[in-house]
Symmetry: C2
Subunit: 247 residues, 2 copies
Amino acid sequence: MTYCVGLLLDEGLVMLADTRTNAGMDNISVFAKLQVFHTPGERMISIMTAGNLAISQAVVNLIQDGLADPETGAIQTIHNVPTMFKAAALIGEAVRWVHKNHADAMRKQDVGFDVSILLGGQIAGRTLRLFNIYAAGNFIEATRDTPFLQIGEHKYGKPILDRAVNSSTTLTDGVKLALISMDSTLRSNLSVGLPLDLLVYKRDELVAPVQRRICENDDYFLMIRERWSSALREAHRNIPAPDWALD
Amino acid sequence: MTYCVGLLLDEGLVMLADTRTNAGMDNISVFAKLQVFHTPGERMISIMTAGNLAISQAVVNLIQDGLADPETGAIQTIHNVPTMFKAAALIGEAVRWVHKNHADAMRKQDVGFDVSILLGGQIAGRTLRLFNIYAAGNFIEATRDTPFLQIGEHKYGKPILDRAVNSSTTLTDGVKLALISMDSTLRSNLSVGLPLDLLVYKRDELVAPVQRRICENDDYFLMIRERWSSALREAHRNIPAPDWALD
């Protein structure tokens, strides 16, 4: 399993992914699920993948090697697509290519075609955007009403995002909230695991984003886990007892 | 969908269920999912059901009408089973009876055989116990290590329970935590809905449990929702910014 969350904020973009992959409970590995395609001053594109690792890796390869544009025949890659919308469409095409070439053989081995991809980024002169591309190759986009998207094991970490994230959330608070959301998921689902890959990108800067790998002993993450747990315990203790009798 | 949670605490039992059932998004109703079978001084048994409503209602009828004990042939009902273990086994038998009589016809209509049941309670002279009975009719029991069980849409409301509930949690805190867990679920899944049915039973008392239906305008629940939301917002704001630069 996997948990990835992207926040599209007025100040910029926060992307956070775990790195655990498992083929059964007895075969657990670390694979980066967050990839960055950055040309200074021109584009900063990041993707995070959930689902079958073979599909994800094939898609990541295809969008770098390039696929023919269905209309013009020109080879499009994640490095040369002119817009983020075209980038989402390119990833969708890559997912469909993998489906066409592998889904039948996978089905014969009882392996479902399971993949979903978060795509966030900006191309010079254009808007910062965040998309979720599905296994069918179609996609949705984050908006001001719903400024975050999640893939993989999303339920444990959703309540805090539902309550606290909106477009005007600062990048710093976005980082905290993404880490809190991830912490809730890590505690409840063993198949989501450290280390984490974090990316923070300031809107319109097109410089290299801040990237950080957060391991078991990361002081900041340890502090968030500890503070958040104590805050929750204190919060429920501070709620008065019911005014109706319990006995 | 449904969310039900049961807490088995040193002080007693907390059971909380929502009441929303839906056959599609356009056919939503209120049905009680929490049932109590109480003989003063002799037994206090409560069950909560999730899954297909026709199966749940059939099971609730069968355990009251009675099924023949597979070993002795004697008719057993929820009112006369001698132990909570036998009560769990009786519910399991009822689930299997419904499966035998309805599952094939349901499958022909593409309806899955989906049911799970939380059973909590105590019979005079015996221990307070809490069970989760599956669609196969088998079951597990809550222990001191894991003193809560959930059925239905359980993920949104699990992080707070994982962090805050243990056997020594008081009944009052148990009520608060169950309501907080339910609130997280209500916010994230439309198919879980108010009103709520709450039951609180003090271990070894065998008197009628406290029961309360919590509706939209319940002052205590409104206060918990408000306080909990503010506490979460304050908690993440109080966490310091990362010590690594975001720019």
